[in-house]
Amino acid sequence: MQGIRNNLVVEINDVSKSFGGLVALSDISLDIKQGEICGLIGPNGAGKTTLFNILTGIYSPDSGVFKINGQECQNLKPHLVVKAGLARTFQNIRLFGNMTGLENVMVGQHVRTKVGVVGAIFRHRYARQEERQIEEKSRALMVYVGLDPDTNQLSNTLSYGDQRRLEIARALATDPVVIALDEPAAGMNATETGELRDLLMRIRKDGVTILLIEHDVKLVMGLCDKVAVLDYGVKIAEGKPNAIKQNKDVIRAYLGGSLS
């Protein structure tokens, strides 16, 4: 855990990204402290998901650096970013549909385990023990997010809300320092959103930092310790939820320029 300044588990410095002539992100900086829930909001097309894609190694930024848990990650492949401690979920659910829920979560632990092919074939004691630990931990994680680990259902047959929860369990299985959630409440009803909110509070209490993209303003304002607002690829505001609510730039971005 060396290299972390002031408990900052995410440090983004001047990250920019263009696609051809379109500037998707320009000079974004954002720090997130250990244990915080940081909301990332903005109108559609503001660059929120692009920022997620950069942080998780899908794109590399044109310029700028970012650190996860003290480790520079801007040039790392996705699986190494996961190893550094950042795991994510997806706006449109991306589970391994032909695997059971439990198997999905077990895949999440791949990065923290190490038995290779030879060990897996000959199943020596260490391999069996590791496999047992993977399964136990995955079961525990499913219970933690409120799913039944014993259903042998393929994940693509689970209900929508369960699929969202399963994605969170799978991300948690990578033992992340930070978990990045891309619109976890999308398409949920009020009850489900309430359950999600409780789950996120529990995750934070258990020491995992959360970066949250969400359109449900009530959820974001009620849950987050701080909120950053993107508009046309520029960070226009950052601060406590209450301050953000009253920020003139934010109101203008959301409601159009006519308000002032």
């Binding site: 549909g97 999440g108 290779g116 391999a127």
Partner: protein
């Protein structure tokens, strides 16, 4: 009845070899969507390496038993073939990972021709005979013959396939492989090193191919630099028959194709009144390919429509 049982046994032997080779096609297809046409050549290299190793080891005045000689030879064939497949993927397929599908298909065909010619340069153009390490004994089974080599082939293939199924379904490596097959980019975002998994898939497929090469050359007692071509095409047919991308399908497809071919070859002469002989057996494999492609392109086990976003 005798002929039927005899062809059943022959078909089972042939089919287990097809199944081992088909697994290599289907695993690579499942993960990359690539038909590795050079896979048949890996089988040939496996057979050739074993032949060379056996004659090399036998020529030493060492007190090695035939079992030990065979074991060392097979292990070296597995190592050579796995290394070959590892570099083949790195050199010929990885640079084209994001190219249109036709490009890697063409490199695969190129790779196949290249390997055949290299093999011809190393091992020559003539047929090589498999040395008599073991005396072949024949057993009588309700009027049909089965040799000890055939029993060995069937048992070993079944063992290997069980081991592979366990590996794929019950271990972390297998899970990572299935996850990568479903969606490489998401697997990567969940911490799976996709390149390692792809290399591993090629290596495992090649190891199976090496064993298949040994078995097929032991069964027919010959090996030839071009033996991999037709064998590869038939194993590919078996993979398509079972549902390409599906491992259990490859096993079933392999056995089934072996049975169809061998029973067909046994009866074709009777059916056509002696007009076509058993050397037409290759016709059946490709007839099956055409029928499957026309009537059930997804194969026996294939239900999943490739969905890669």
């Amino acid at each position: 009845m005798d002929i039927f049982l005899q062809q059943l046994i022959n078909g089972l032997v042939l089919g287990s070899v097809y199944a081992l080779v088909a697994l290599g096609y289907t695993m690579v297809y499942g993960i990359l969507g690539l038909i590795n046409f050079a896979h048949g050549e890996v089988v040939m290299v496996g057979a050739m390496v074993v032949l060379s190793m056996i004659s090399l080891l036998s020529s030493f005045p060492l007190p090695l038993g035939s079992e030990l000689i065979l074991l060392i030879s097979v292990v070296s064939a597995i190592i050579v073939c796995s290394t070959l497949a590892f570099f083949m993927e790195k050199v010929a397929y990885r640079p084209l990972r994001n190219a249109p599908r036709l490009a890697p298909l063409i490199t695969a065909i190129g790779m196949s021709i290249l390997l055949q010619n290299i093999a011809m340069m190393i091992w020559g153009r003539q047929y090589k005979t498999f040395p008599d390490l073991f005396s072949i004994t024949s057993y009588d089974l309700a009027g049909a013959n089965i040799t000890n080599v055939q029993i060995f082939i069937i048992c070993l293939s079944i063992l290997i396939m069980i081991a592979l199924l366990l590996l794929i379904n019950l271990t972390r490596i297998g899970r990572a492989m299935r996850a990568t097959a479903e969606n490489p980019s998401i697997a990567s975002l969940m911490g799976v090193n996709v390149n390692t998994i792809i290399s591993l898939t090629f290596v495992i497929g090649a190891a199976l191919a090496a064993v298949a090469g040994v078995l097929v050359s032991a069964n027919y007692s010959v090996a030839h630099y071009s033996m991999g071509f037709i064998l590869g095409l038939k194993a590919f047919t078996a993979a398509v028959l079972g549902g390409i991308g599906n491992m259990a399908g490859a096993m079933i497809g392999g056995i089934l194709l072996g049975l169809i071919e061998s029973i067909g070859a046994g009866y074709i002469s009777d059916i056509t009144g002696g007009f076509m002989g058993s050397h037409y057996q290759d016709v059946f494999a490709f007839l099956v390919l055409i029928v499957v492609l026309v009537f059930r392109p997804t194969g026996i086990m294939g239900e999943r429509i490739a969905d890669r976003s």
